[in-house]
């Protein structure tokens, strides 16, 4: 039975359990004259939950664990001698999987019976021909061991699937029955379903947290591998970024960090003043109708895909800056430059600053404004001397969040700032950032286990640490500020 059908059957059990449980509760209550503790539907729900949830969890775990078990068993069948020079066990195993899949396809077409399959051996030409018929092309002769392994692989997988079907359906039925038997009018079915709902919610949030942890771990492990083959001091302190396909690359992060900081700095230089002024206008001056129109309109900037910003940088801002500023001033002739990327990115993060700051300025109690107006202060004096100082910690938090967004940005930089790693102060020169290099190192032609590729993980981890630190700092500041007024 395949997985889809198993799920459908389990759900059918649950539905049946719901109806049966509800009926049972009503009839028991009618017989004994005891009032039900909960609404009758909750009894049905309890049976349904017992039927479905543990069985489906088992199914998920089984699907995750079975391939690992089968793999390790079959892999043990292949002796080291069967692995050709320059190949690896993992490559042989992928052959095994392909042959096993091919055999399945052959069987499905009816070209071969199950019994026949057990009798034919690998050295016959028929196997290759048969497999070729169903689209599985094999490079060379199939070694007998490999063919045997494939057969075993098929067999184990098949019996595993059977066992899984039995186990899942068995658990579903058994628990449904158990829950059904335990129904009595005093049973607190409401509380049981409440407990289930709670665990469901906890499980959902765990998924998000575990994903983050998983991301960090995968980065950490690859980074450790990288530092085994490339000295960490070189990575962190070298000022040269010069990856070579032949090896002997220099992979210093400093030029990339410099580019990242420079672009982000320019972006913040654009976004912070404009964003703050927008926030002040929206929260202190704009009328209700203006505000309800302008705020979503500005937030739309954040919804534009960054690749579109990148194109804008590439075809409009870049050439404009080159023709009217860089070349007349003799500062460079490249259309991609730090300034291009920084300006465009600054526009992109304006809504981050303006929206968050607007919320924060609105959170400053009206009583403080009244106090200031009551002393004869004008609006702008009130904003400058009372509202802004009170909102400042929160605004700093908003700016830090925008900064971490800028640091992680990729597309605008690829198209706007270019790809040459450089340590320079000239904003009209092309530079590049950490994120851009992560992309180009991972999509390059180098072998995966080479330092040229693995450096991407070290770069990623460094970037992650940076933005995480900024986020934590921002959250800390925002939270501290909130305590002040609530």
């Amino acid at each position: 039975m395949n997985v889809g059908i198993i799920i459908l059957v389990v759900l059918a059990f649950a539905a049946a359990g719901y109806i049966a449980g509800k009926r049972q509760a009503l009839s028991l209550s009618a017989q004994s004259g005891i009032k039900l503790h909960s609404l009758s539907g909750y009894y049905g729900q309890t049976v349904a939950l017992f039927a479905a949830v543990p069985a489906l969890l088992l199914l998920i775990v089984w699907l995750l664990v079975q391939p690992i078990v089968v793999e390790s068993r079959v892999s043990g069948m292949i002796p080291d001698s069967a692995i050709a020079q320059g190949s690896a066990r993992s490559l042989v195993m992928s052959d095994v999987r392909r042959i096993a899949g091919g055999l399945d396809a052959v069987l499905a077409r009816g070209g071969l019976g199950e019994d026949e399959l057990n009798t034919i051996s690998a050295n016959t030409q028929t196997v290759r021909a048969r497999l070729a018929e169903v689209g599985v092309a094999l490079a060379g002769e199939v070694q007998p061991v490999v063919f045997e392994a494939a057969r075993a692989y098929r067999q184990t997988t098949k019996s595993g699937a059977l066992a899984m079907t039995i186990a899942v359906l068995g658990v579903s039925l058994a628990l449904a029955f158990l829950a059904y038997r335990r129904i009595e009018p005093q049973m607190r079915a409401r509380n049981i379903s409440e407990g289930f709902v709670k665990s469901l919610l906890i499980a959902s949030s765990l998924i998000a947290i575990l994903t983050t942890i998983g991301i960090v771990f995968s980065l950490v492990f690859e980074t450790i591998t990288f530092f085994k083959i490339y000295p960490a001091s070189q990575f962190f302190f070298s000022t040269v970024w010069n990856p070579q396909f032949r090896g002997g690359s220099e992979l210093g992060i400093l030029p990339l960090l410099w580019g990242t900081m420079y672009v982000s700095f320019i972006a913040l230089l654009v976004a912070v003043p404009i964003g703050l002024m927008i926030a002040i206008y929206l929260s202190e001056y704009a009328g209700r109708s203006m505000r309800s129109f302008a705020k979503p309109a500005i937030e739309m900037l954040a919804g534009i895909p960054t690749i579109v910003y990148g194109l804008f940088a590439l075809v409009t801002i870049g050439p404009f800056l080159r023709d009217y500023f860089a070349q007349p001033l003799g500062l460079g002739s490249s259309s991609s430059s730090v300034l291009t990327a920084g300006l465009v990115m600054g526009v992109m993060i304006i809504p981050f600053v303006s929206s968050l700051s607007d919320d924060i300025i609105n959170a400053v109690p009206q009583a403080l404004r009244d106090g200031s107006y009551g002393l004869g202060a004008t609006r702008s004096e009130t904003i400058k001397k009372v509202v802004m100082p009170a909102a400042l910690p929160g605004i700093v938090g908003a700016v830090l969040l925008a900064a971490s967004r800028a640091i992680g940005e990729t597309m605008i930089v690829v198209l706007g700032a270019g790809a040459s790693a450089k340590l320079s102060l000239n904003p009209f020169e092309a530079m590049t950032t950490v994120t851009v290099k992560i992309v180009s190192q991972l999509t390059g032609d180098s072998e995966f286990s080479s330092p040229e590729t693995l450096v991407a993980f070290a770069l990623g981890l460094t970037l992650f640490t940076f933005t995480l630190a900024l986020n934590v700092l921002a959250l800390y500041i925002v939270r501290k500020y909130r305590e002040q007024y609530e």
């Binding site: 009328g287 403080l368 009244d370 106090g371 200031s372 002393l375």
Partner: protein, 271 residues
Amino acid sequence: MNSISSMNTTTTTTKASPMTETKISARNVQVYYGEKHALRDVSIEIRPRSVTAFIGPSGCGKSTFLRCLNRMNDTIDSCRVEGHILIDGENIYDAKVDPVQLRAKVGMVFQKPNPFPKSIYENVAYGPRIHGLARKKSELDDIVAASLQKAGLWNEVKDRLHESGTGLSGGQQQRLCIARAVAVSPEIILMDEPCSALDPIATAKVEELIHELRTNFTIVIVTHSMQQAARVSQRTAMFHLGLLVEENDTDKMFTNPDDQRTQDYIMGRFG
């Protein structure tokens, strides 16, 4: 000698005569919040250097009227004020009157103490700074010290002027707000239930302070406490459902009011 003194006495008497002197004069004031007619036809005369109390049940319009006197209602979009309010004979709703200047002349203390999240010194210095009342640091220091003294807070805070104003107790915060209002030397101080967030001891201190401030300022106070109105004010005005029901000497008001509704409210029959 004798004649001079008697002349002085005569002038003073004429000047302080309740019949001739009026600081604030309101005529047929109407206030609307959008469609809602919140105040109807309020006319009242308020005397200088005295305390006038506004009493009445919640939502009767007494705070609304108070906020008309320094045009604080201007900050509410939907609010519309009609009629005339004259301060020293000048209509404050006239187009040539700058509400910002007006509020420097008519200070306000709010229901909940609202010190700025700045130091005690900066709180008091705020008004003098924005109005340019002090040319030198030493002048500003003097204004701050004098204001805190007038607000009866000086002895409690003189050693910690540079600590945050929000760290004071509720009663101290309210007196700080009074000091802040006094620092711009207004002529009138409006107080919107200044003691409703304070405990009895802090309330007593603020009431005592109001009593002292009366010698220099015209004070209008909104209060929910009948006892407070009786203790601090010379004149009392009773509002009900957006109408000014009665306005009278406080003594008369609390012993023998003219209006039945005032009688009922003071006896605790509604409100």
